[in-house]
């Protein structure tokens, strides 16, 4: 117990949580200063999964960087691909055929559901319930199967191409996707019975680690985390792109149902509701799937006119942006990933003061931070 340090007449215990700890998803470290179970300071230490994806882009051709996008965040490959593809397409001024846009939307929404499976599963697992995680993984497996049948891979999809998508979906696949959505919509109530309305879960999450709307905006929180804090903002609705203008859906916002607005339970509920909305979106997109090409004409060796752009999509963790600078050559001059986890990670130090160790675990899980996306 050599590391009990005395600061201002108060004893603090310094705890190292991670880089390998059951509730640090991915490799991630927190330095905790605690007074018994109560935290005085929790300082995230990131970078264990830094792979230099921004630097790598500078040595890749434009189409050749697409497979790397899946690796930015292995849980939302389609979104990363889409953000990058949108940036390139905007600089190239290519129109993506509507069928390709619809397919991008379908896969993206399936991807969002799969991502929320992991997030919700991790929340329940981190507060001690293991079974919901397994149920969600089971459902996620069906999505993985669908994605594998369409894209060829289960996780690192590499489905998008510049100017379109790689493969067309046949009727059998679309039918399978609809069947999944039908089935999954019936599993959500069961999930809620099992864990979502469970009094222990509610007590563990409600009122814990609330982030007010102003803080969420100031720290750049995005996506479900931002919406849970009561800020009604969704790029799919408010800055429409791709196929979304033709689809109707609702944007869930945190209401502080059992605690305060922006607490962990709100973040939980917002994600559950988003899965429902994603099911709606998938169904609509399949119904409205236009016929036609799946890829615009793109030259084989791509040279992009000099310029720069910032393209963003509403990923599963919110705004996922790509800042792309081109110098007219066939390689990106500079590429920057703006990811949701990065912002979420940076707010943890502020929010975690005064929480208990068990609450920190719930906070990390409910912010849905993913180490590879933070570190890139």
């Amino acid at each position: 117990m050599s590391e009990i340090v005395e600061t201002a007449g108060r004893e603090e215990l310094i705890l190292n949580m991670g880089p390998h700890h059951p509730s640090t998803h991915g490799v991630l470290r927190f330095v905790l200063h605690t007074d018994g179970e109560i935290m005085r300071l929790a300082r995230p230490d990131i970078g264990y999964l830094h792979r230099g994806l921004e630097k790598l882009a500078e040595g890749q051709s434009y189409p050749g960087y697409l497979p790397f996008c899946d690796r930015v965040n292995y849980l939302e490959g389609i979104f990363c691909e889409q953000a990058y593809a949108m940036a390139v397409e905007r600089l190239l001024k290519i129109e993506v055929p509507p069928r390709a846009e619809a397919l991008r939307t379908i896969t993206a929404e399936l991807n969002r559901i799969a991502n929320h499976h992991i997030c919700l599963g991790c929340i329940s697992m981190d507060i001690g319930a293991y079974t919901p995680f397994v149920y969600l993984l089971r459902e996620r497996e069906r999505i993985n199967d669908l994605m594998e049948a369409l894209c060829g891979n289960r996780l690192t999809y590499h489905y998008l191409r510049l100017g379109g998508v790689a493969h067309d979906a046949d009727d059998a696949w679309l039918k399978n996707a609809l069947a999944f959505v039908d089935k999954f919509e019936r599993v959500i109530p069961e999930f809620e019975s099992l864990i979502g309305k469970n009094e222990i879960l509610v007590r563990r999450l409600a009122g814990v680690a609330s982030i007010c709307g102003a803080d969420a905006v100031a720290y750049g929180l995005v996506g479900p985390n931002l919406r849970a804090s009561g800020v009604d903002w969704d790029l799919r609705r408010d800055a429409p792109y791709s196929f979304y203008p033709r689809l109707s859906f609702e944007v869930p916002v945190g209401k502080g149902e059992r605690g305060t607005v922006g607490d962990c339970y709100d973040r939980f509920l917002v994600r559950v509701e988003e899965m429902r909305q994603s099911c709606r979106l998938v169904r609509q997109a399949i119904e409205k799937l236009p016929a036609g090409d799946i890829r615009a004409k793109v030259p084989r060796v791509l040279k992009i006119p000099a310029g720069e752009t910032y393209a963003c999509v509403e990923g599963a963790r919110g705004e996922l942006g790509v800042y792309l600078v081109s110098d007219g050559s066939d390689k990106p001059y500079r590429l920057k990933w703006r990811t949701g986890s990065f912002a979420a990670m940076s707010i943890i130090e502020t929010v975690s003061r005064g929480l208990m160790i068990a609450d920190l675990v719930a906070l990390i899980a409910s912010l849905d931070v993913i180490a590879p996306e933070t570190d890139r």
Binding site: G52, E58, V217, A218, W233, Y310
Partner: protein
């Protein structure tokens, strides 16, 4: 507000004519480095501007011009408009004021900026390495960065068996069993 109006209003507040460009969501304004913080404050608090959200803060290294361009992507939830605030720093001694007081989100971005580009951040409360180990040499996102061959005695590159020349003729299958089984 459309980009031109924003650019005009910012120019008025700073009392200078600014270099502007871009269109739509990619509109940008270039301010002098010493007025960086002032411009940020004006954008955050200026009437009708209300840029409350710092999307990202990053830099582009341009060794040919001897400059490092810093770009802050801003957005306003209230007014629903976007702007990229830019400045050009001297590549030899880049220095810039911290925006942490305007947008707390800037703290981490600036730590990354500092370690990746070597841009010194003034008045940053906690300027430590973010992604790299504390003793990592160099600034990796600069264009002239060369990866060290070793870090603390550990090679930074993996063996590349492809670099070896073709092993002549004959079956060269290398399975876990040695000698290899006949196919």
């Amino acid at each position: 507000m459309n980009p031109t109006e924003i650019q005009e209003r910012l120019g008025q507040r700073l009392g200078a004519s600014l270099e502007c460009g871009g269109a739509g969501a990619d509109a940008f304004v270039i301010v002098p480095a010493e007025r960086w913080l002032e411009a940020a404050r004006a954008l955050r608090e200026g009437e009708g501007l209300d840029f409350d959200y710092l999307r990202s803060l990053t830099a582009v290294d341009r060794p040919a011009e001897g400059k490092i361009d810093v770009a802050a992507h801003l957005f306003s939830y209230k007014r629903r408009h976007a702007l990229t605030l830019k400045t050009r720093l001297d590549r030899a001694a880049p220095r810039i004021a911290s925006l942490g007081a305007v947008w707390p989100a800037a703290h981490w971005h600036e730590r990354e900026l500092w370690e990746m580009f070597g841009v010194a951040i003034e008045n940053h409360p906690d300027l430590r390495h973010l992604l790299l180990p504390e003793d990592w040499p160099g600034h990796p996102l600069r264009k002239d960065y060369a990866m060290p061959e070793r870090y603390q005695g550990i090679p930074t590159r993996r063996p590349a068996p492809l670099a070896e020349p073709a092993a002549g003729t004959g079956p060269t299958n290398t399975g876990p069993k040695n000698p290899p089984e006949a196919p």
